[in-house]
């Protein structure tokens, strides 16, 4: 019989909150590219952990290692108490994976897809059928249940893929960019489902490039870039890393954006930069609101016409910039 053992790291930590995922010193290289470099993280059971990073950061690589699809070069990891390298089979029966591209069999109907996955988790036929019905209902696919999934929209496919990862009621759910390609409404609906799962006790590790998504969903966030962990904490903690608030100024004429940058830079505690829209200038400021009057005066003196100005809490976007020196979404090649 299979004995559920605690990972050594987990025993050492003790306490009331066992960790559903423990990663220690994980490294993985593809030839020259160091996809993961000494990554460690802990995810407490029953929480949502966000793994946030731009393209090529190593998110998928870590998810593949944690789901036993890829052997690490160095380091160890435990998921649901099982060692990814030594106890792969037991581990697989306790996890659910929704990979970066939806693994949906287009020639099968939604129902058949879920029933097949149920059978492969070794549920008996009636349990597999019942789970399929429940999940189709929960993901709003009942009407499309007996249509080939080839005819599904991108959002429906994503939902079916997520449903498939839940067939065996996993302890730990790994979601690799689950909302990529969804419209804002579908994204919010998926968030609601994920929150609901966690309230039922499931642990979720989710990767994302959307700072908003990590902010919305995750109890804790690990930021990775170029294979390394560069920050870890709650969204609130990470925001404090920018040392203060963010000033944003919208100029009327894009030609004046540079001038606005120079004017606000005299008051800031960081780098002023122009957003992609060409008219918004943002900059971290310590003591935010108190400086507003002086900044407006300076802009006026320099002849910069503005349509909006304000001080706001930093977004994770700002945090990312402060931590990495580049914005999220910038590629490894840049």
């Amino acid at each position: 019989m299979v004995q559920v053992r605690e990972a050594p790291e987990r025993q050492a930590m003790g306490g009331a909150r066992p960790d559903a995922i423990v990663v220690r010193g994980m490294s993985k290289a593809y030839g020259e590219i160091q996809a993961l470099d000494d990554v460690s993280l802990d995810v407490a059971a029953g929480t949502i952990h966000g793994l946030l990073g731009p393209n090529g950061a190593g998110k998928t690589t870590l998810v593949r290692i944690l789901t036993t699809l890829l052997p690490p070069d160095n380091g160890r990891a435990w998921v649901a108490g099982f060692d990814v390298a030594r106890e792969a089979t037991q581990l697989r029966s306790r996890i659910g994976l929704a990979g970066q591209s939806a693994a949906v069999d287009e020639y099968l109907t939604g129902r058949e897809n879920l029933e097949l996955v149920g059978r492969l988790y070794h549920l008996n036929r009636s349990t597999a059928e019942r789970r399929a019905v429940e999940l189709l209902e929960r993901f709003d696919l009942t009407e499309a249940a007996d249509r080939r999934s080839k005819t599904y929209s991108g959002g429906m496919r994503r939902r079916l893929d997520l449903a498939a990862s839940l067939v065996a009621d996993p302890e730990v759910l790994l979601l690799d960019e689950p909302t990529t390609g969804l419209d804002p409404r579908a994204r919010r609906e998926l968030w609601a489902v994920i929150r609901q799962l966690v309230s039922g006790g499931t642990t979720v590790l989710l990767t994302t490039q959307y700072l908003e998504e990590a902010d919305e969903l995750a109890d804790r966030i690990t930021v990775i870039d170029l294979g390394r962990v560069i920050a870890e904490g709650t969204a609130q903690e990470l925001k404090q890393r920018t040392h203060g608030d963010v000033l944003s100024v919208v100029v009327n004429d894009p030609a004046q954006a540079e001038a606005a940058c120079r004017a606000v830079a005299r008051h800031g505690s960081g780098v002023a930069r122009i957003d992609d829209d060409g008219v918004t200038v943002t900059m971290p400021v310590a003591g935010g609101a108190a400086k507003l009057a002086a900044i407006i005066r300076d802009l006026d003196t320099d002849g910069v016409a503005i349509s909006d100005i304000g001080v706001r809490q930093p977004s994770l976007d700002d945090v990312f910039l402060a931590l990495t020196g580049h914005t999220a979404g910038a590629d490894r090649a840049d």
Binding site: T89, R92, I95, A102, A103, D105, L108, R119, L120
Partner: protein, 263 residues
Amino acid sequence: MHDTMTALRIEARWALADTLAMARRNLIRYVRSPELLVFSTINPVMFVLLFTYVFGGAIDVGPGNYINFLLPGILVQTVVFGAVQTGVGLAEDLSSGMVDRYRSLPMARSAVMAGRILADTVRNVFVVLLMIGVGYAIGFRFNASVAAIIAIPIILVIFGQAFSWISAAIGVSVREAETAQVAGFVWIFPLTFMSSMFVPVHTMPGWLEAFASVNPITVTVDLLRGLSQGGEIMPSLWQAAAWTVGLVVLCSTVAITQYRRLS
């Protein structure tokens, strides 16, 4: 000791159940994708009709009618061409991420490939019987014992499986459906034509005849001709058996090793 035996038995039962589940899934895909059905049934039927009526008059195969000579060859061609689909299907599942999902499940690792080969074998049984039916309709006749007639589809299916393993090894190596398709046909085409499939090998130039006589397709076609028309089956029986066993052992080893190394 007893416990390990029980554990092994349970594991074997699951491996079988997983293989059947995967085979069923692959067969559903066949039935639902018209292009695959056409490719694996209409094509061989067209071949048999074309060769019989277009070339039949021009190719001299000695006594007996051409369809009796041709059909065993076309049957072998059918299972060999059909084998390409094994690799294409595997490559498709690899590139679409389906295999990632399967590998993250507690299912038997062997079941993805075994289920694929089993499905292709079931399809071969169906297509071989269909082809024999078509052959009968246009004049083919067995001239053999019942045992020999029963042996024919069995040999075809086993030979087809050997080629499915070659194709599986290619599929897991290239991991991309189009490449697997090209990499499959690029050697199968010359191999089938440089054999006794359509013409007797003694009509070929010397160097080609030398190659054609040891070609696994030639020995299998000759074996089936012997069986279906009550002719000589030695030494083609041993040669065909040796080729089949050799190919299965070698290619299944390569395919399984490659699959285990997937990451």
